[in-house]
């Protein structure tokens, strides 16, 4: 798989390039044709699939694990619920949801077979293959409540899943990579049952004064070099850094969620806004 050639030039300078019309979207700091973004994102993740989790550890000093743990705590998965994890890649969120649901079943001494169902949807087949292989190696402390995982390749903007079929939709570090985030939110709303819950964990805008400059310096100077050192892939990590800056701010994302139809929309900042959890409900 060739490295994405898209970040070869002028990445940090054309920050303010205007959107000429609706047929382009962001790919990092570049405007690219809408129909190309999915392929370009897929190239990035195909090239980082194997080292993805390790690289996240290195980049965030392990903090992404704390964010994800907090994310699962916010969700409070229940036995018997149907979860859809979009951009679920190698399954780390899916497995955490499944494990929490199994623990819930055990705590409440539910009948044998009270299990959760987690569907993982991702754009990149190699991430799903990795996830599927990991699922087979999972420890299985509660076989009577064993979660059922299924794996499917698809886009967040065109889910191959029926209306009103899930209790909970999660997307963790994924919405930023979607070519049309509003469409993805509309689809999330569509597949949720009435009463269904939406949770998004994503990089966001740093809200602490002073910290933002330090964070910028780290992001643009250090992370791409780490990408080179750990994964041998500077361009993909350069893309990650740029895409974070281009993504909707906390309030903007809330507005988009309301636009999709969600109610009880709110967000919680993590680590001063480096990341944020957005939640909403389909009523």
């Amino acid at each position: 798989m060739p490295e994405p050639s898209s970040t070869d030039q002028g990445h940090a300078q054309n920050n303010s390039a205007p959107h000429a019309d609706q047929t382009t979207t962001h790919f990092g700091f570049q405007d690219v044709p809408l129909e190309d973004k999915a392929d370009m994102v897929q190239d990035v993740f195909t090239s980082v699939a194997r080292s993805y989790d390790r690289m996240n550890d290195v980049m965030s000093f392990g903090v992404h694990r704390l964010w994800k743990a907090h994310f699962i705590n916010c969700i409070k998965p229940h036995a018997g619920e149907r979860f859809l994890d979009v951009a679920g890649g190698t399954g780390d969120i899916a497995f955490a949801l499944g494990r929490a649901a199994e623990q819930d079943a055990r705590r409440r001494r539910l009948p044998i077979g009270s299990r959760a169902d987690v569907t993982v949807c991702d754009l990149t087949p190699s991430m799903l293959v990795e996830g599927q292989a990991r699922a087979q190696r999972l420890p299985n402390p509660y076989p009577q409540y064993e979660t059922h995982y299924s794996w499917l390749c698809g886009t967040a903007t065109g889910l191959a899943l029926p209306d009103r079929s899930f209790d909970c939709y999660t997307i963790s570090f994924g919405l930023r990579n979607v070519d049309e985030p509003q469409k993805a939110l509309n689809e999330a709303y569509r597949v949720l049952k009435p009463g269904g819950r939406f949770f998004c964990l994503e990089f966001s805008q740093v809200v602490l004064p002073g910290f933002d400059r330090l964070y910028d310096a780290y992001s643009f100077n250090v992370i791409p070099r780490m990408g080179q050192a750990v994964a041998g892939d500077r361009e993909s990590y350069q893309y990650l850094v740029e895409s974070i800056r281009k993504f909707a701010k906390q309030g903007e994302l809330e507005d988009m969620m309301r636009q999709a139809g969600f109610e009880h929309v709110s967000h919680t900042n993590l680590s001063g806004g480096i990341a944020a959890i957005h939640t909403g409900r389909r009523l």
Binding site: P125, Q132, A133, Q136, S150, G154, A160, L161, D163
Partner: protein, 75 residues
């Protein structure tokens, strides 16, 4: 273990719909494809993973486009 022949999850097959039209799909076991007659596309299944991307789907040929009747005898 990762490259053994892996069948697609039957529970998943049952729920999947066409990503474009949201209509139900027909599983074609011999070609291992999911057919959307409404969209005229066949979505492949690779390594047990349904690939529900328009860009990866095969356009149906003219002779494949007629939706089999529900009561037709299975081949």
């Amino acid at each position: 273990m990762s490259q053994t022949s892996r069948d697609v999850d039957p529970a998943l097959l049952e729920v999947l719909v066409c990503p474009l039209t949201k209509a139900t799909l027909t599983f074609q076991a011999d070609s291992n494809e999911l057919i959307s007659y409404e969209a005229g596309l066949a979505f492949p299944i690779r390594g047990g993973i349904p690939i529900m991307l328009e860009s990866e789907a095969r356009p149906l040929e003219e002779r494949e486009r007629a939706k089999p009747k529900a009561n037709a005898a299975p081949a």
